[in-house]
Symmetry: C2
Subunit: 202 residues, 2 copies
């Protein structure tokens, strides 16, 4: 297997952390998003949607979308389980992972893209939407803090893909100087816990 | 079990189609999105994020997020399998479902919300972003047409949750008068096929 990725992107890091949790060795090739390498013909032959990361399987086929790749790696290397150990746990983890993605990762990414204009050579941007997205992200954080008052990890008693998504989102927001309430008490407690895992260095 | 939903919304319909495919009887209570019933204290006790649909389980706990609900129903009623029958198929279906969601369902929903202003009493909108989202959606459709030139259903040989997502997205775009290239040849062939399933009436 070979992973084509941009490790500095939130989605690249999501898969890198999963790989580290599993203790898997995978050959990696970094893709230069800034230089639009993901939009080259060569890359689009791997993923016509031009997004990183992409996993090349041993039979030469390609798998993209971070969570699809992570779920595949989880099926090959079930320990530690990142998607839950029974049907109901799997569904709760999927719920929480999607809550992170829809209510926080998306608005944080849209605030970044529309306010920084980093990709304005290849996509139309709206400063107005960037500002709205930043507010949406800010108002979502307390809902995750409320959950973390009740559970050790975001989807319950065990570390899961939903924690990986939340960690990568918050770190990306911090790195791009977004003004989120990072210091809410339960978020802070959880952040120290997950950041101390060796995989968080990925 | 009891489903709190808005059947006219794309996400409500996604779960309704899955329920119909499985032949399950579930008690349903319609939630009035237009009247902001989803933002009432009573509803937020079921889902603090204020989104439909929500499935109440027999033990009184709540599960939200359409795909998490669908995956749970799939685990209870495995036939027909909507998430694949082996690890690799599961990952491909997840990849295609997410491609539909990220590249088409999201921009179609954002175009609708920002251009119609249907929810402007409760969220800030940007006409500029609505117009950008409409263009993004238009440009994504041919990539799905390309895939449907190669496979009968969007993620391969079998009907899956990814087909449900694509059908609900295209029908919602049509209902809200969005100008997508609905008549591309492979999309048209696929649309006739999936629309003829009894579940499409859901």
């Amino acid at each position: 297997m070979k992973l084509f990725t941009t490790s500095a992107s939130p989605n690249g890091r999501r898969v890198n952390i999963a790989v580290a949790e599993k203790g898997i060795e995978i050959e990696k090739q970094e893709i230069d998003l800034g230089g639009a390498e993901n939009l080259s013909d060569e890359f689009k032959a791997r993923n016509p949607f031009g997004r990183v990361p992409v996993l090349e399987l041993d039979d030469g086929t390609y798998l993209s979308e971070s969570v699809a790749i992570t779920r595949y790696l989880d099926s090959l290397h079930p320990n530690p389980p990142l998607f839950g150990s029974n049907d109901l746990e799997q569904s709760y983890i999927e719920m929480w992972n999607r809550r992170v993605e829809l209510n926080l990762l998306m608005p944080v990414a849209q605030a970044f893209r529309n306010l920084s204009g980093m990709f304005k050579d290849r996509e139309k941007i709206s400063k107005e939407w960037g500002l709205i997205s930043a507010e949406v992200a800010q108002s979502a954080v307390p809902l995750f803090d409320d959950q973390l008052a009740k559970t050790e990890f975001i989807a319950g008693d065990n570390f899961s893909v939903a924690d990986i998504s939340l960690l990568c989102t918050l770190d990306f927001a911090r790195a791009t100087k977004q003004d989120l309430p990072f210091d809410l008490p339960n978020i802070s407690r959880w952040y120290s816990l997950v950041s101390a895992r060796p995989s968080a260095k990925a």
